[in-house]
C-alpha cells in the first residue's frame, strides 16, 4: 500500500516536472521581451519576411492564445519547423537522440564501474597512500573541463582512433558485414564516451568514497566488527549496501551533467547526436530546433530521474515513509 502511494507520488512529480519544463520552454522562448524573430540575423530577413514568420509561428496572437496553441501542437507531437532546413523539428531530433544514447550509456557504464571500485578502495584504505592517490586522481578528473579533455584526447589519439563523425563514410562502399559496421561504430564512439566517462568517473569515485566512509562510521559496522566478521564482509555486505542509497540519488542527479557532457563532447567530436544538434542550433540561432532539443533533453532527464526514484524504492522500501 505504501509502495503504491510512493509510486503515485513520484509519477505525479515527474508529470508536473514535465509540465513545468514545457511551460518554462514556452516562457523562455515566447514571453521574453522581443521574440524569437526579433533576434534573428540572416541576409534575407526583411521586415516582411519577419512578419510572415511571426504569423507562421503564431507570434502575432496574444500570449495566452499562443500558450494554448503551443500545448495543443505539442500534444500532437508537432514542435514546428527548423528555421534552417525547414524540416519538422521532431524529424531532426529523433535519429540524433538514438545516436547519442549508446555513446552515453558506454561512458556512464565505464564511470560507474570504475567509480565504484575506486571509491570503495579509497574508503576502505582511508588515510593511506592508496586513498590519497585515488582521491587526487578523482579530484583531478573531476576538475577538467569536459570539452578541453575531449580536445586533449583528440590530440593524443589522432590517427589511432577516428576523430569525428559516427561512421566511416567509405565503409559503406565495401559492403561491410554487420560485425565490421559494429566495430566501426564502436571505434567512433570510444573517444566521446571516454571523455564523458573520465569526467564522471572522478565525480562518482568521490561520491562513493564519502558515502561509504559515512556508512563505515555507523554503529552497525562496529557491531559487525564485534561479531568478528571479515573486513570484506563488513564492507560489501553491510556498509556498501547502505551507502548505495545516497550514491543512487547522486548518480540520478548527475544525469543532468550527462546531458551537458553530451552537448560539449559531441561538439568536439562532431558526433551526430542530440548534443551536436543543440550546438548547431545555437550557432545558427535555429530557435525551433533549440526549443525542441531542450524539451527532449529535459524529458530524458526527468524520465531517468523517475526511473531512479523507482529503483530507490527497490533498494530501500523505507523511502516511502
Amino acid at each position: 500500500m505504501r509502495g503504491a502511494d510512493y509510486f503515485l507520488k513520484r509519477t505525479l512529480f515527474a508529470l508536473v516536472t514535465v509540465f513545468v519544463a514545457i511551460t518554462l520552454n514556452f516562457i523562455i522562448f515566447r514571453a521574453t521581451p522581443g521574440d524569437a524573430v526579433t533576434g534573428l540575423r540572416c541576409q534575407f530577413c526583411t521586415v516582411e519576411f519577419k512578419d510572415q514568420l511571426r504569423a507562421e509561428l503564431g507570434l502575432d496572437k496574444s500570449k495566452w492564445e499562443q500558450y494554448v496553441i503551443y500545448l495543443q501542437s505539442l500534444a500532437e507531437g508537432d514542435m514546428g519547423r527548423s528555421f534552417v532546413t525547414r524540416e519538422p523539428v521532431v524529424d531532426e531530433l529523433i535519429d540524433p537522440l538514438l545516436n547519442t544514447l549508446p555513446m552515453i550509456a558506454l561512458g556512464t557504464a565505464f564511470s560507474i564501474v570504475f567509480g565504484i571500485l575506486s571509491g570503495v578502495v579509497a574508503a576502505w584504505r582511508r588515510g593511506t597512500f592508496l586513498d590519497w592517490g585515488n582521491l587526487s586522481f578523482s579530484l583531478l578528473f573531476y576538475s577538467l573541463p569536459t570539452q578541453w579533455l575531449g580536445l586533449m584526447l583528440l590530440i593524443v589519439f589522432a590517427g589511432t582512433l577516428p576523430a569525428s563523425g559516427i561512421a566511416d563514410p567509405f565503409l559503406a562502399f565495401t559492403d561491410p558485414s554487420w560485425w565490421d559496421t559494429f566495430v566501426d561504430r564502436l571505434e567512433h564512439m570510444i573517444l566521446p564516451a571516454a571523455t564523458i566517462g573520465i569526467v564522471l568517473y572522478g565525480e562518482y569515485a568521490l561520491i562513493v568514497r564519502s558515502s561509504l566512509m559515512e556508512a563505515l562510521s555507523e554503529d552497525y559496522v562496529l557491531t559487525a566488527r564485534a561479531k568478528g566478521l571479515r573486513n570484506w564482509a563488513i564492507v560489501w555486505r553491510h556498509a556498501f549496501r547502505a551507502s548505495l542509497l545516497p550514491v543512487a540519488t547522486l548518480i540520478a542527479l548527475s544525469l543532468g551533467y550527462l546531458v551537458a557532457g553530451a552537448i560539449l563532447v559531441e561538439a568536439v567530436f562532431s558526433y551526430p547526436g542530440i548534443g551536436l544538434v543543440t550546438y548547431d542550433a545555437v550557432t545558427e540561432r535555429d530557435y525551433p530546433v533549440l526549443q525542441g532539443a531542450f524539451l527532449i533533453l529535459t524529458l530524458s532527464v526527468v524520465f531517468a530521474n523517475y526511473l531512479a526514484d523507482l529503483l530507490y524504492f527497490k533498494l530501500d522500501p523505507r523511502v516511502a515513509e
Binding site: 523562455i28 570539452q147 573486513n231 543532468g256
Partner: protein, 323 residues
C-alpha cells in the same frame, strides 16, 4: 561575522556539539581554523589567493598585451613566449593571465548570486517550515531536475551574450544545491535550546534569523559558495565553448573555444589548447579542495571510521591484508 557571533546568541553555543572546529573563537573562526589544520584547505586557499592576485595585477605580470600580435600564428613555445602563440599571433601566457580576470569575476559573481538566492530560500524554508517550506522545496526540486546546461544555453542564446547576462544566468541556475543544504542545517539549528529561548523571550523572526541562525549556517554557506565558484567557472567555459561567451572579453573558456574554432588541433598546436584548460582545472581543484575541507570539518561524523586502524584502535588485523 565574528561581531555577530559574539552577541548573546554565542553564549549558548559552547554546549552546542555541532560547531566543533574553532568552537571557542566564534563561528567565523571555523573557516580560519580549518585552513590552518587541513593541508588540502591551505593548498586550495593559497592557490585561489594567488590566482586572484594574478588577475588583479594582470597588466603588470603579462609580458605582452592581450591583443598584441607578437609573431606568426601558432608559433610554438620558445624563450620569448613560453606558452607559444595563438592563431592571431598573440602570446598565450599573456592571454591566460588576462583571461583569469573574466573567469574569476564570472565565478565569484555568479556564486554570490547563487549564494544569495540559495541562502535565502534555504533559510526561509528551513526556518518557517510548513507551507513555505513545501512550496520553496517544490520549486527547488523542479529546478534540480531540469538539466542546467541546456537551460543556460537556451537563456543565453535568447538574452544575448554579455558578461552580466552570463553571471545572472549561471547564478540563477546553480542556487538549488545551496538551498537544500542550508535548509537542512537551518531546520536543526531552529530546534536548538537557545533559539527556543530567544523565541520565548519574544525575539522577532528576523532577529533570530540574523543573530542566531545565520551565524550558525554561515560556514556551511561559505563552503558551499566556494564550491559554487568552481561550478560557475566550469559553466562559463561550457557557455563560451558553445559560442555564448561575451565576444568582446577574453576568458579561459573563450581561449579553449578559440583554439577549437581556429583548428589548433589540425596544426597540432597543443600549446594553444592545453594552458587554458589547465588554468581552469587548477582553479576548480583549488575551490573544490577548500570547499570540501570546510564541509568535512563541519561534519564531525565522518571523522570516525570503524574500519580504519589508525583512527580507531580496535582492530588487530594488519592493514596490508584485508582478507
Amino acid at each position: 561575522m565574528s561581531t555577530i557571533a559574539s552577541g548573546p546568541g554565542a553564549a549558548g553555543a559552547p554546549t552546542d556539539p555541532s560547531d566543533v572546529p574553532g568552537g571557542g573563537r566564534g563561528r567565523g573562526g571555523v573557516v580560519w581554523s580549518v585552513l590552518r589544520s587541513r593541508p588540502q584547505a591551505a593548498i586550495g586557499g593559497t592557490v585561489l589567493v594567488l590566482t586572484i592576485l594574478v588577475a588583479v595585477f594582470a597588466p603588470l605580470l603579462a609580458p605582452y598585451g592581450p591583443r598584441e600580435k607578437v609573431g606568426p600564428p601558432f608559433a610554438p613555445p620558445s624563450s620569448a613566449y613560453p606558452l607559444g602563440l595563438d592563431d592571431g599571433g598573440v602570446d598565450m601566457l599573456s592571454l591566460i593571465i588576462y583571461g583569469s580576470r573574466v573567469s574569476l569575476v564570472v565565478g565569484f559573481a555568479a556564486a554570490a548570486v547563487a549564494m544569495l538566492i540559495g541562502g535565502s530560500v534555504g533559510i526561509l524554508a528551513g526556518y518557517f517550515g510548513g507551507k513555505t517550506d513545501i512550496t520553496l522545496m517544490r520549486v527547488t526540486d523542479y529546478f534540480l531536475v531540469i538539466p542546467d546546461v541546456p537551460l543556460m544555453i537556451v537563456i543565453a542564446a535568447i538574452w544575448g551574450r554579455s558578461l552580466t547576462n552570463i553571471i545572472i544566468i549561471i547564478g540563477v541556475i546553480y542556487w538549488t544545491g545551496t538551498a537544500r543544504i542550508i535548509r537542512a542545517q537551518v531546520k536543526s539549528v531552529r530546534e536548538r535550546v537557545y533559539v527556543r529561548r530567544a523565541q520565548a523571550l519574544g525575539a522577532s523572526d528576523s532577529r533570530i534569523i540574523f543573530r542566531h541562525v545565520l551565524p550558525q549556517v554561515a560556514p556551511l554557506l561559505v563552503a558551499n559558495t566556494v564550491l559554487t565558484v568552481a561550478v560557475a567557472i566550469f559553466a562559463e567555459t561550457a557557455l563560451a565553448f558553445l559560442g555564448l561567451g561575451d565576444p568582446s572579453l577574453i576568458s579561459w573558456g573563450r581561449l579553449i573555444e578559440n583554439a577549437f574554432v581556429s583548428n589548433a588541433i589540425t596544426v597540432d598546436a597543443w600549446w594553444a589548447i592545453a594552458p587554458p584548460g589547465i588554468a581552469v582545472a587548477v582553479v576548480i581543484l583549488a575551490c573544490t579542495m577548500l570547499g570540501t575541507a570546510i564541509e568535512d570539518a563541519l561534519n564531525p561524523r565522518l571523522r570516525v571510521g570503524h574500519l580504519s586502524v589508525r583512527r580507531f584502535r580496535l582492530r588487530p588485523l594488519p592493514a596490508k591484508d584485508p582478507q
